[in-house]
């Protein structure tokens, strides 16, 4: 069913410039890898060029960079507290990467890196493992009291502890599927609505332009919002690991 005109065709991974195999592994440079490189290059250029002058009264570009910094910094301070400062580089990179991948994916003909669950799952599992290690280093074996909800009566523990453990281990899944599903659903919806407009032909095809533009605006909102949600959930998990409830 996945033909060239299927709404899912846009998520196809194609090797650029021929497949490369090293030791039985397919390490071809794909369109996904290309757009990741573009995203990283765009972030680097945006931040480096924006903060090049370091004026005391910032220009437009510099205040945009400072705004991004303030935004993530405040999010970390509000959700994790002062101990969160040391995680700022990680959280800021995560936010910028997800944001740029989402937004660059909206360009016509672009490939959305975050629409593949392998990418989002890799990030989510990294966050999960890091948060667990931080919790264990900080609290030692005391960390495992995290799975015992405070204030619950003792006879409920056989029920509560498995629930807490399951909800802890489901985190990387919900974190990755949320981002991936939002991106896939948004792009499929745009492709389907766009194909309706295409089916109307040359004379009537311009009629739904307003609706499609509004849907595109919604997708832009979702792209930014999902980057924010991914980051704030990372912050909340960090808070749980550092403060244990």
């Amino acid at each position: 069913m996945a033909e060239a005109h299927s709404p899912l065709a846009q998520f196809e991974i194609k090797p650029l410039g021929g497949p490369i195999h090293i030791g039985g592994l397919d390490v071809s440079f794909t369109n996904s890898a290309l757009w990741m490189v573009i995203a990283v290059a765009a972030i680097t250029a945006f931040m480096l060029l924006g903060t090049r002058k370091q004026a005391i009264v910032p220009g437009r570009w510099q205040s945009l960079c400072e705004g991004m910094y303030d935004f993530v910094s405040n999010m970390l301070k509000d959700n994790v507290g002062n101990e969160g400062r040391q995680f700022f580089p990680f959280v800021f990179s995560l936010f910028m990467f997800v944001l740029f991948c989402n937004v660059l994916g909206l360009l016509p003909g672009a490939f959305t890196v975050t629409s593949h669950i392998i990418v989002t799952a890799a990030m989510a599992v990294f966050v999960f493992v890091m948060v667990t290690i931080v919790g264990i280093i900080r609290h030692g074996l005391h960390f495992f009291t995290y799975f015992m909800p405070q204030g619950a009566p003792m006879w409920l523990m056989p029920l509560m502890i498995p629930i807490e453990i399951i909800s802890y281990f489901i985190r990387p899944m919900s974190l990755s599927v949320r981002l991936f599903a939002n991106m896939v659903a948004g792009h499929v919806m745009l492709a389907v609505i766009g194909s309706f407009a295409f089916a109307l032909g040359v004379w009537a095809g311009w009629l739904p332009v307003g609706v499609v533009t509004m849907l595109f605006g919604l997708e832009l909102l979702i792209a930014c919002l999902q980057a924010y949600v991914f980051t704030i959930l990372t912050c909340i998990y960090l808070h749980d690991a550092i403060h244990l409830h």
Binding site: A2, V177, R178, N182, V184, A185, L225, Q226, Y228, I232
Partner: protein, 74 residues
């Protein structure tokens, strides 16, 4: 029953869950507007929290969409 027919029925059943997401969004925006109309001065402060909850609620509906897509195309 034909497998292909069962597939379409299954995909249709899977998106029933979107009703829950719709109800959730209604509760969310309704309550936000209710609070914002009562106390407009505080509305701005909670807008960000509301948008975050919007994304969380919407994501649950999208899980159903993903299940339907997996049934249809995988």
């Amino acid at each position: 029953m034909d497998v292909e027919a069962a597939r379409y029925i299954g995909a249709g059943l899977a998106v029933i869950a979107l009703g829950g997401a719709g109800a959730g969004l209604g509760v969310l925006f309704g309550n936000y507007l209710n609070a914002a109309v009562r106390n407009p001065a505080a509305a701005e402060k909670w807008f960000g929290r509301m948008m975050m909850t919007f994304a969380l609620v919407e994501a649950t509906g999208l899980f159903a969409f993903v299940v339907a897509m997996i049934i249809l195309f995988v």
